[in-house]
Structure formats: structure tokens, C-alpha cells
């Protein structure tokens, strides 16, 4: 008799990835199976490693900044922010209010875009391919705003040390209005399409359950943590930029399974929309034009190190910058990449589940390989 009670079966190792349609890029999972049941799983990473930290260390500060867009390429602006905040801490520059608001606004817009991809790909990985097209349409509206604002859609490099690249304009205003108009009906429709689907519920409820304890001990962050019942969001609990000015409601799920992670993102989308509206309103009250602080032409921060962290779509993104005070390059840059920390739990989470559940678990974590491999 084997572990799962079959009369006779042979264990075998299945190599999921790096070339696999549902590993969100080039994640590789080496898993042992008994029939369809997973016995052990081991995520193997590094297939997209570009030496991001070393790249930044061998370039001047402004040259390095756009590289960070390529970490979590689904939410470029959000990756600029921790690096910018850390370097600004070293430099000790003041950020104009309008620039801070623009940073927050773009971060929230890209957070929305990233969640849309996460939700859509999740449904697609469960087998409902059409589910990916509807959120991607909404993502398109979000990217249109960014495109109108700074000219780039995905890897914007919009945030600069000391401020932002471009000021808010009418075109972006119009694009944001489209988003306001399209998103609420979409959320309602998507709830109707997905929430009550029997197959979807069967595939996700009780699959990949993470308790609050385990989530904390594995240092999960972001929606994956909140789906396990831990009420923690940096934007509210350790505010950066001007987030302390706004009341941020953080939805929390208790179940900690794949369904909770989906539901968590759907609930957060609504909160993001409210936050975008609030930030947008605050932005309108500031005076246009002042979007850059007093930053020296040549960035040469004093010796020391600084750490800044932000709440990114995938979790907490941290950035440590060390400067020797002499060179124009950072001495050391290190990122805390949320997807990387989140997937550590896979080898504990996956055993006991079926092949299809493995895919559901990977998809529910909404990982991005650019970020994992760095």
C-alpha cells in the first residue's frame, strides 16, 4: 500500500517548469508525486536572474533607478518608490507635497493594474481562459492613465530622486475618468461571473490553507498575508509618503485558502479605487508645477545606509542602500522582494495536494518571476 491508499503506485518526480504555461514565467517546481498527489515540492529559482542589485551598484543613482521597474514588471512605479525613498533618506531632501501625492496616485493605479493581472491569470490557471480578458481590459484603462501621464505603459520609471518625472495633465485626468467609470461595473460583473461558480469554489476552497501563525512565521506579506487573517498593511501601519493623511480600510480574510486570496484581492480592488479617488481629490488641491525637490545635479549621498519599505501589490518591498560618501555609485543595494519571500512556503504548502491544486496555489500567490529572481 502506498501513502494515498492505492494498491500499488510508484513515486515519480515531475518537473513543473521552468517552461510551463502556469508557473508565471520561469519558476521551476520539482515535485514528487504519488499518482496525482504531491508528496514533496521544491521551488527552484534563478532562471530570470539578471543581477539587479549588482547592476544598480555599478551605475550612478539616476542610471540605476529605471532598472527597478523590471523587478515586479507588472507594477513598475511601485518598485521605484522604495529605492527613491531610501536614497532620499540618505540625501535628506524634502519631497514636495504634489510629488508625494503623484507618487501615491501612480502607485495605487499600478497596484490596481497588478491586481487585475493577478486575478485574471488566477482564473485562467484554473482553466477558465476567458476570465483573463475582462480584468486585462480594466488593466488597460489603468495603463492608459500612466501612458498619458508619463508616456510609458509598463516600465515607466516615473519616480525620480526628489520627486516625479511629469506633472499631472488633462489627458491623464480624462483617462482616469474612464477608469472611474469602467471599474465599478466590472467588479460587480466579475463577482457575478466567478463568485458563485461551483467549480471555482471546489477548486479553491480549502486548498492551500495557511494559518495566521504559519503566514507570520514564513514572513508572508501583502494580500497573501491578509488573506490568512493578519491585519497588516504598511500603508496604514507604517505610513510612508503621505499615506497617513488618508484613512485606509484594510480588508482581511480569515480562511487563508486559495479562495480567500482571490476574495482578498477583489475586496482590495474596491478599497484601492476609493483611495485613488481620495488621493486624486487631494492632488487637485495642490498647486501644479512643483514636482521636484531640491536635489543636487550630481547625486553623491553622504556615507551611511538607509532602508525604506513600501506596501507593493505583491507584498512588502524593502530597499537597503549603502553609500560610502565618495562615489557616485551606491556601495550596496539590496531589495527585499515580496514574491521571493512569499514562495518560501510552497514546499510546506504543496504536499498532500493534487497536481491541479499546485497550479491553483501558485496562481493564488500572484508571484512575479522578475521579482523573485531579481
Amino acid at each position: 500500500m502506498s501513502e494515498n491508499g492505492n494498491a500499488y503506485s510508484e513515486r515519480y518526480t515531475l518537473n513543473l517548469g521552468p517552461q510551463h504555461p502556469s508557473t508565471h514565467g520561469v519558476l521551476r517546481i520539482v515535485a514528487d508525486f504519488d499518482g496525482e498527489t504531491c508528496i514533496s515540492a521544491d521551488p527552484v529559482i534563478g532562471y530570470l536572474h539578471r543581477g539587479m542589485e549588482k547592476l544598480l551598484e555599478s551605475r550612478t543613482y539616476p542610471q540605476g533607478l529605471p532598472y527597478t521597474d523590471r523587478l515586479d514588471y507588472l507594477a513598475g512605479v511601485n518598485n521605484n518608490l522604495p529605492l527613491a525613498l531610501a536614497v532620499e533618506k540618505l540625501l535628506g531632501v524634502e519631497i514636495p507635497e504634489r510629488a508625494s501625492l503623484l507618487r501615491m496616485l501612480t502607485c495605487e493605479i499600478m497596484r490596481l493594474a497588478s491586481y487585475m493581472v493577478g486575478i485574471g491569470i488566477y482564473i485562467m490557471d484554473l482553466g477558465a481562459v476567458s476570465g483573463v480578458f475582462y480584468p486585462f481590459q480594466q488593466r488597460e484603462y489603468a495603463l492608459e492613465v500612466m501612458s498619458a501621464l508619463c508616456g510609458a505603459r509598463m516600465t515607466q520609471g516615473y519616480i525620480r530622486f526628489g520627486g516625479v518625472q511629469a506633472d499631472w495633465n488633462d489627458e491623464a485626468e480624462a483617462a482616469l475618468d474612464v477608469l472611474y467609470k469602467e471599474l465599478p461595473p466590472f467588479i460587480e460583473m466579475y463577482h457575478k461571473l466567478i463568485d458563485e461558480n461551483e467549480i471555482f469554489l471546489r477548486r479553491t476552497k480549502g486548498v492551500g490553507v495557511i494559518t495566521a501563525e504559519r503566514a507570520k512565521s514564513y514572513a508572508l506579506t501583502g494580500p497573501n498575508l491578509r488573506a490568512s487573517g493578519v491585519d497588516y498593511d504598511l500603508r496604514r501601519d507604517a505610513p510612508y509618503c503621505l499615506y497617513d493623511r488618508f484613512t485606509i480600510k484594510v480588508p482581511v480574510q480569515q480562511a487563508g485558502d486559495c479562495h480567500a486570496r482571490y476574495a482578498q484581492r477583489m475586496l482590495e480592488v474596491e478599497e484601492i479605487l476609493k483611495l485613488i479617488k481620495a488621493i486624486h481629490a487631494a492632488l487637485k488641491e495642490t498647486e501644479p508645477g512643483k514636482i521636484m525637490g531640491a536635489v543636487p545635479k550630481m547625486l553623491r549621498p553622504p556615507a551611511g545606509e538607509a532602508y525604506a519599505q513600501t506596501e507593493n501589490p505583491k507584498g512588502i518591498m524593502g530597499c537597503l542602500v549603502a553609500s560610502d560618501g565618495k562615489g557616485v555609485n551606491p556601495l550596496r543595494v539590496h531589495f527585499r522582494r515580496p514574491s521571493f519571500d512569499n514562495i518560501a512556503i510552497f514546499s510546506e504548502l504543496m504536499p498532500g495536494h493534487k497536481v491541479a491544486d499546485l497550479i491553483a496555489i501558485i496562481a493564488s500567490f500572484d508571484i512575479v518571476l522578475g521579482e523573485i529572481d531579481g
Binding site: L14, H20, P21, I123, G127, A128, R203, A356, D357, I359
Partner: protein
């Protein structure tokens, strides 16, 4: 009208006359006429297979496009309707890759055999008035038997590929095909019980005389459609292919024309399932105004579109739920349905 209705029957008659004349002219044995006619029927079925595959592949892609708010194929030919031909040419020209460790003869044979079951099944399909190549008294049983064979080439493909994904897909095919055979057979049996005949034309005659059997056996109709989806390995039961789990499942190691054969055979299998649903539940080729074979094509078109609609709407079911759903829901349901049908038929007839 009458002429169009009988156009294919007349063509067959003409062929037979020509063959008889030739055989008489050359003083050959008469049995050659029948053999030649078998070749004609076979050719007709091949044409039906190819045409339905060509049409439904592009129709599926178009319908999927409409469902997903995108145009779908719209470049090649009028409004993109020649897309399948373009795809087929592309696939033929591709390199035919056979993995090193594969069981090469079976790997090849599987692709070739893929078209056999649907062609065998179409032989007994009543396309129209007098348009049944093989009018068997046990037509229903025959079609059920040969459609079961459809999982065999897929099993061979998975087994011969020497690939773990393919092997898992192959095992899933066996699981699924054997399990869903049971509710499907029970659903068809309920129909047979009401109609009182195993002959497909007889079942159509019964429906012409009374009402469409979908009204008498609605539960059996739904169960039949679900089982047919599972038998054809269509979403939400497309576990053998299970793109997001098993990359391409049993077809992982297939490329070029061999892959295309499986792909096209899938549509022929669906066409058979839709044709059988039409015959058993929707009155077959009967209908007012239009010729019989047009009605048959229209009704199968509706069922096929339903299959496609379901595919692009639902997520994939997990392997263990597939079996649980079959044995714990569909089979008991159909047994009860059969019992109730039997009692009512016994009382009334």
C-alpha cells in the same frame, strides 16, 4: 424542394447505377458494385469529417473571440473563415518531432487512429432522409461502442510519448472515458426505453410521431451532454489536455501534422456527440420547410456552439471531482431516471 432534400440520395443512386453499368460492361461479379459503394460512402464520410473539422475549428475560435471581447481570426479569407486551412498548411510544413525515448510506431499510429472512431460512428449517423450509410438495427449500441474507442488513440499517444505529463494525461483519459461511459449509456438507454428501438432512424420516427425526446427525457438530455463533454475531453473536463496543469497533457510531445490530426479529430468526435444528441433528443433530421440534412446540420450546430460556449465559460474540474461527480451524482441520477422511465413506460404501454 424534394430534389434538394434527396440530392445526396440521388447522387448515391447515380453512383450505384454507374457502377452497375460498368460491372455489366466488363462482365465482373455483382458484389463489386457493393464494394464500390462502400468506397463512395467512406469518401462521403471523410468529406463530412474534414469539412466539419475545418468549419468548427474556426467557429470555435470566432465564438471564443466574441465571448472574450476580441475579434477572433478575421484575416484569411472572407472574414477569417479560411483560417483553419492556413493553420493546417502551417502545421504540415512544421518539423515533425518525435522524442528519442518515444515508442515510435505507436506514437505515429496514435495520430493516424485518431480519426477512425468518429468516422466509424458517422457511418451509422442518420444525416437525412435515407442518408444513413449503415442503417443498423443496433445503431445506438454501435455508435456507443465506437465512440468509446476514441479514447484509445489518446491513451496510445500519452503512453508512447515517454513524457510524464503525457502519461498523466493518458491515465486521466482512461479514468474519465470509462467512468462517463456509464451515465451516457444509461441516458441513452432511457431514450431507447421510451422509443422502444435501438435503430436510430426508428428513434427519429418515434419522435416524428410523438414529440421530441428532449421533452420526455430532459434529465437524460442534460446528463448526456455532460457525459459527451467528458467523453470528448472538452472543458470543463479537458483534464487529459489540461493546458494549465499538464502543459498540453497527452499532446505534449506532438508537433506538426500529428498534432493537427488530434486537434481536428477532437472536433469530429464532438460532431459525432452533437449528431447523436440531435438524433436521440432533438428529432434528428426532421423539421419543416428546410431539407432534412440542413436541419441535421443546424441542430448539431446549436449543440456544438453550446459545447464551445461551455468551454470558454467554465474553469476546469479537478481530477478527483470529475470521478466523484460521475459516480456519486450522474450515475445514481440516471439509475433513478431509468427506473422511473421504465415504470411509466410499463404502465402506459
Amino acid at each position: 424542394m424534394e430534389f434538394i432534400n434527396n440530392i445526396f440520395v440521388n447522387i448515391a443512386g447515380l453512383c450505384r447505377a454507374v457502377f452497375a453499368w460498368l460491372v455489366g460492361l466488363l462482365h465482373l461479379p455483382d458484389v463489386l458494385v457493393d464494394i464500390a459503394m462502400v468506397a463512395v460512402y467512406w469518401l462521403a464520410i471523410v468529406v463530412v469529417c474534414v469539412l466539419c473539422a475545418l468549419f468548427y475549428v474556426v467557429w470555435e475560435r470566432k465564438l471564443a473571440g466574441y465571448i472574450q471581447r476580441r475579434p477572433g481570426p478575421n484575416r484569411l479569407g472572407p472574414n477569417g473563415w479560411l483560417q483553419t486551412i492556413g493553420d493546417a498548411i502551417k502545421l504540415v510544413m512544421k518539423e515533425d518531432i518525435v522524442p528519442d525515448g518515444a515508442d515510435k510506431p505507436i506514437h505515429l499510429l496514435a495520430a493516424l487512429l485518431a480519426f477512425v472512431p468518429p468516422m466509424l460512428a458517422l457511418a451509422a449517423m442518420p444525416f437525412g432522409e435515407g442518408m444513413t450509410a449503415l442503417d443498423l438495427d443496433l445503431g445506438v449500441v454501435y455508435i456507443m461502442a465506437v465512440t468509446t474507442l476514441a479514447s484509445l488513440p489518446v491513451l496510445c499517444a500519452g503512453y508512447a510519448s515517454n513524457n510524464k505529463y503525457a502519461m498523466m494525461g493518458a491515465l486521466r483519459v482512461v479514468n474519465q472515458a470509462i467512468s462517463y461511459e456509464v451515465p451516457q449509456a444509461l441516458a441513452i438507454l432511457s431514450v431507447v426505453l421510451v422509443a422502444g428501438t435501438f435503430n436510430l432512424n426508428g428513434i427519429i420516427d418515434f419522435q416524428t410521431g410523438h414529440v421530441w425526446l428532449i421533452l420526455l427525457q430532459p434529465v437524460a438530455f442534460v446528463v448526456y451532454l455532460i457525459s459527451a463533454l467528458a467523453e470528448c475531453n472538452r472543458a470543463p473536463f479537458d483534464l487529459p489536455e489540461g493546458e494549465s496543469e499538464l502543459t498540453a497533457g497527452v499532446f505534449t510531445e506532438y508537433s506538426g501534422m500529428r498534432y493537427a490530426l488530434f486537434y481536428l479529430a477532437e472536433y469530429c468526435n464532438m460532431f459525432v456527440a452533437a449528431g447523436l444528441a440531435t438524433t436521440l433528443f432533438l428529432g434528428g433530421f426532421t423539421g419543416p420547410f428546410l431539407p432534412g440534412w440542413v436541419w441535421f446540420l443546424l441542430k448539431t450546430f446549436v449543440i456544438m456552439s453550446l459545447f464551445i460556449w461551455v468551454r470558454w465559460t467554465l474553469p476546469r474540474i479537478r481530477a478527483d471531482y470529475v470521478l466523484r461527480f460521475c459516480w456519486k451524482v450522474l450515475v445514481p441520477l440516471m439509475l433513478v431516471n431509468l427506473l422511473v422511465t421504465g415504470v411509466i413506460v410499463y404502465i402506459l404501454v
